[in-house]
Symmetry: C2
Subunit: 315 residues, 2 copies
């Protein structure tokens, strides 16, 4: 018989993290991260910093959480992202979005210094900061919270070919990062959704509580989020396996979706301004911890500390 405190808890990791004092619930979808988990979180942040800076040549900055709603109107996402956006209105009546992601913000920043010579690119800028989503149904503790820590990298290139090279390079950095984390993962083709762009790949920890269904080709090994699957486009194989997964990272080729609307340009070799090509790359940092506990812990919970502490790199 579960206690009153854990009765509505819907995943093993949430139950274990609550029971062992790693997190405590503050509100609907908000949590206190207690000192023991804070240490693991710091290790996760250091790990992400390391791979972003050393393996993806990215520079760290901080974009404000408060993002002018007018920028979201300009990109068209004020409508498409809809009720998940948390908003606040300042004393001068200006509406601000509590950033769930920062494509508008970073593109406005680059547009404000445009056009910079083509020699300055590729430009790769990332942050690790608190993001907000007004989930209809926050659940699974840190896995689907209203307030969470995310790493978001944004890249700017002078052409589609260059943006593709950046995409390969960042995905390679992700491969190294997830190898270092030490939790088995699956990479699949994803839907670009409200972020947009022409292509994306998701990184999942396979788990029963995962909210995505993944399809893997039994012959060539290629994977898809089920919503993208229409037969194996690589080998034509018909033999597939299916499993549920927790999305822990997502990489997008954005093309010029944001840069064109918002005027983020570079000065080409011929001296003319041209529109930059973008990519964006997220990792759910707090979700990574919860998903790691979900996948690695035994039901009894005595291995939670080990999972967060020793079996993965969050020591």
């Amino acid at each position: 018989m579960p206690s009153s405190k854990t009765r509505h808890v819907t995943s093993k990791s949430q139950r274990l993290m609550l029971e062992q004092g790693l997190i405590r619930q503050a509100g609907n979808g908000t949590f206190y991260l207690m000192p023991l988990l804070q240490r693991s979180l710091q290790k996760a942040v250091d790990l992400v910093d390391h791979f972003m800076q050393r393996h993806a040549s990215a520079q760290k900055l901080t974009l404000p959480i408060l993002t002018a709603a007018s920028l979201w109107r300009q990109s068209g996402r004020l409508e498409s992202a809809g009720p998940e956006l948390m908003r606040t209105t300042d004393r001068h009546g200006k509406q601000q979005i509590l950033g769930p992601t920062h494509e508008e913000s970073i593109t406005a920043l680059v547009a404000s210094i445009s056009p910079v010579s083509y020699r300055a690119f590729p430009l790769r800028l990332y942050q690790i900061s608190t993001k907000f989503r007004d989930e209809m149904k926050p659940r699974f503790g840190l896995m689907r919270a209203k307030e969470f820590l995310m790493k978001d990298l944004y890249t700017f290139d002078v052409g589609r070919g260059e943006a593709r090279e950046t995409y390969e390079e960042v995905n390679e950095a992700y491969r190294k990062l997830f190898d270092a984390v030490g939790v088995g993962y699956v990479k699949v083709r994803g839907d670009t959704g409200t972020i947009g762009g022409s292509e994306s790949h998701e990184y999942h920890f396979p788990s029963e509580v995962g909210e995505d269904q993944l399809v893997c080709c039994g012959e060539c090994g290629m994977g898809w989020n089920q919503e993208m699957f229409g037969g194996c486009e690589r080998c034509g194989g018909a033999n597939v396996s299916r499993q549920a997964g927790i999305e822990v990272a997502h990489a997008f080729i954005l093309d010029d979706k944001y840069s064109k609307t918002m005027g983020a340009k570079f000065l080409a070799q011929n001296g003319k301004p041209e529109t930059l090509q973008m990519g964006c790359y997220g990792i759910g940092v707090t979700r990574l911890l919860a998903a790691g506990v979900e996948v690695l812990s035994g039901e009894k919970g005595h291995s939670v500390a080990v999972c967060v502490g020793r079996r993965s790199r969050f020591v």
Copy 2:
């Protein structure tokens, strides 16, 4: 003749940080922290972590930014803090405060595990996170921004004497921290304001653009924020000097202002629950960088990098 971009810039540090690409303005009181400043910020965070953990025996955690407005109503601060509070209402109609400080939040956390044995105290918990204040007039760049990074430590003790010992110990850690920062500072008696409690001390970097007026006794050296000055209570000396200062830190003895209202208790030696005594201790981390640049830089600005980088500890 200042350029259009810096025309409304009101402090040397803001002008220099903008000109040298350390920050860029995002909105009214919000800023992009560019990669060079981000590195200094990381050093400042590491420094604060070091002194909090090693010299004040504090443990780091994360409290959510979204704080239930009902908690602020309970403490009485929903009214007293008034229009500076930024608010958001979630899709279920619940109002949340974007925390400017977290006395309510941490006290609710400790109350939720109350009463813990007296043996568990002192308890010292801190975070370094983004805070929000809807300033009437944001200005001086990072010095008075609507969104800023702050370290906030909260302490819990079993009695007033113990809380006083904690107060002395944390103030001693602050002394060591500011000595390490290497920017000359002044410590003065402060007004407890909307935070409340019975006593507080502020730490200031002396500067013409500082918004506080400080009074120092020329005989015994004791200092006050002018709003607290009514003659030297220590030596009775009448010979005082005055200067303006930028507040970079503030330490408070809170007594039971929050713990009593919100039920944060401990189990005394006699087995009965008693109310905890609290303290809170803030450091404006982004403000520290701006104030350091303000105090140490030459007008020409060529020493900004040196100030952020070498003359203080933010290397």
